[in-house]
Symmetry: C2
Subunit: 402 residues, 2 copies
């Protein structure tokens, strides 16, 4: 103990090693320069961003609360610290990038970031009542399991995320299931990391607003085994379903219907044989956003009687895709047949008034109205954003299985 206060270089290195993020010696470099705070949320919910760079020529902020083409210019102080502040922001979860000399980067001082497919952004949680539903609160939490399942339909072993509600492990009860599909560019990680679906369900279940349920989050890109972070090799381009890629109508039809078929043939049977679930239509729901809404429509309309609860977030019926394949060849005939005979306990349509798919959603509504088909319509402000998709899930999931 005679070394009691002998804090030498080695002990500092050891302390650093044991108790704080390891530095350059081993892994990722700490950002240099002064320890600026960014983002800083003021009491009034305005936000200040800071970045230290002596050499940068220009720095901007590009955030999800901004309109199309808007940017926030940062200004450099004599200390080399670039600063910009927003107006007061509504409570929500936002994301943003700095644009440093034309390059889109993360805020190096913000430990919270998210991946949307192949791109990364820093995240920002503005507190308030509207944010409570997707916060990590002091309530019981469900589990998320990343499971691999065989898809004979797609000839791939694939990964999906399965949310099981609090208490699942300790009970013998069977649960209803929501199949929840992501949008274009996303993957099986999107609904939890961007959509906070697990915390939304935790909070709604704890409040007695939603019934305990299992939520299955698949990878809707038919040629992927898992999200890009985990690949060792590129997915097979033969399964590329992009209708703009000089494919025949037949090829596009096959591409577009591949994932919907695999969900019905491979995913649902896997879930119903590996989890304690109720496997009748009254206990099956399906919902998706954008591309996932297109898949939801194909799956639910071409499999009448399979899902009693259907949710379509931010997509409707469009006639303008190349060849008109999706709407003319699949959706319209399927809708006409379905709507003649089926009724759903819940058919939910959500869209933002500024979303560029807004008109297609109105076309879908006309189709439903023609058949006097009962549905719930939630038109919010805003566009094609996760802020809206979190909202629609929070709105839709309490309607399920009741």
């Amino acid at each position: 103990m005679n070394q009691k206060f002998a804090i030498n270089l080695f002990s500092l290195v050891l302390a650093a090693l044991l108790f704080v993020p390891v530095s350059r010696a081993q892994e990722i470099q700490r950002p240099g320069g002064p320890k600026v705070v960014s983002p800083e949320i003021a009491a009034d919910n305005s936000v200040t961003f800071r970045l230290y760079s002596e050499n940068a020529r220009s720095v901007e902020v590009n955030g999800s609360w901004m309109g199309m083409g808007e940017i926030l210019q940062m200004k450099k102080g004599s200390d080399g610290i670039w600063t910009a502040s927003t107006e007061v922001l509504e409570p929500s979860m936002y994301h943003y990038n700095f644009v440093l000399d034309g390059v889109s980067i993360l805020d190096p001082r913000n430990p919270k970031a998210m991946r949307d497919g192949t791109r990364y952004a820093s995240t920002l949680m503005v507190p308030g009542d509207a944010s409570e539903v997707f916060q990590l609160n002091d309530v019981p939490h469900g589990s998320i399991t990343k499971v691999w399942y065989d898809s004979p339909t797609l000839k791939l072993n694939r990964r999906m995320y399965v949310y099981t509600p609090p208490g699942y492990e300790d009970s013998k009860e069977k649960y209803p299931v929501l199949y929840l599909l992501h949008g274009g560019g996303g993957d099986e990680d999107a609904w939890t990391s961007l959509g906070r679906a697990n915390y939304i369900l935790d909070n709604l279940i704890a409040a007695g607003k939603a019934r305990p349920m299992i939520v299955v989050m698949t990878n809707g890109n038919a040629n992927q085994t898992a999200s890009v972070t985990d690949w060792s090799k590129q997915p097979d381009p033969a399964l590329n379903i992009n209708p703009g890629s000089n494919r025949s109508e037949q090829e596009i039809m096959e591409g577009i219907t591949a994932f919907p078929k695999s969900l019905v043939n491979d995913v649902v049977p896997y879930i119903e044989s590996h989890f304690r679930v109720k496997s009748d239509s009254e206990n099956r729901a399906i919902a998706g956003l954008s591309m996932g809404c297109m898949q939801t429509q194909i799956i639910s309309m071409t499999n009448p009687g399979m899902f009693e609860y259907i949710g379509c977030f931010s997509l409707g019926i469009h006639f303008n895709d190349p060849f008109g394949v999706i709407s003319n060849n699949i959706l319209i005939p399927a809708y006409d047949k379905y709507l003649e005979t089926m009724k759903n306990k819940v058919f939910y349509v959500g869209v933002g008034s500024e979303d560029f798919v807004y008109e297609g959603v109105q076309t879908l509504r006309k189709k439903l109205d023609e058949h006097n088909f009962k549905y719930i319509y939630n038109e919010t402000g805003g566009g094609h954003t996760w802020a809206n998709w979190r909202l629609y899930l929070s709105d839709f999931s309490p309607m399920l299985f009741k």
Copy 2:
């Protein structure tokens, strides 16, 4: 079908929406400028990095294959594209950042990135025999479940990751358990996202080299509920265990032993009551890297007879921490008592010859030798790196439960 080839603006927007990553209209901005490829791995395993910026003053690459203080300068072409190439790299998983006008950023063209605690880096997989063990290969995959458990010891509800081996869901068998602890600055995500522990186990189990086992990956920061990405509020600083923070010896002792106590009192009982595990010492292993090795030593030495298999990666016994709390007050007395009576089937020590904890590991070896305690020693090249920790796990896990 008369619109067959009428690809108008709207249809392009729709195609983009449905099938490729959504662009600015909704979420994260695409990087601007020419579509450069980065990183590009040549046939000889040299790697070329590219970044487009007309305005940057300087761009460097900082990679985990480099020595201390080394950097790779990128050069700007007349097209505004900065380029640099490495020498031939050994097969491994590396990470790197670009340093753009002094700011550490991700490679905007690389979709693969990882988080190490509060920092982000792009990742790079150089293929070859040595990389096979942590690649996503065509073998059966285990599941990873993110579960929340109560820790009365830490007065927190906390998250951990549990790997269950392929076939777990379909069998009634009971499995042995490896408790695998991360290092300073890491969290419950580190051993899978940086360490690729799940793929290492998948590959070794498929090859018949390791026995099917459960791997439990905890968050070793006693004041955290989960990784920083998921927090809604800051962890309680009262549970900060940094010995450099002007705390009394008693407070430091409590801080340092808090997580080890919770593992024994809370984690092990949770696992043994919620998963199908064999719960005798012959079927329990514990291993950790750096800070996690310190915790492994405290847990295993102060709970003799609990773990038959012990692994210490990149840490030994050091006497120079402030107050000498860890080694003088805990480790040395515990080792002396333990080594008098216990034997382990496997006691594994791994360290890199360039690691700054190298001398402390030699001190540990002397202590083991004094007692004629049998252990396995794996000295590799390199330093305090994930490249080494993946290697030690690949080496250690085949020795378990045999």
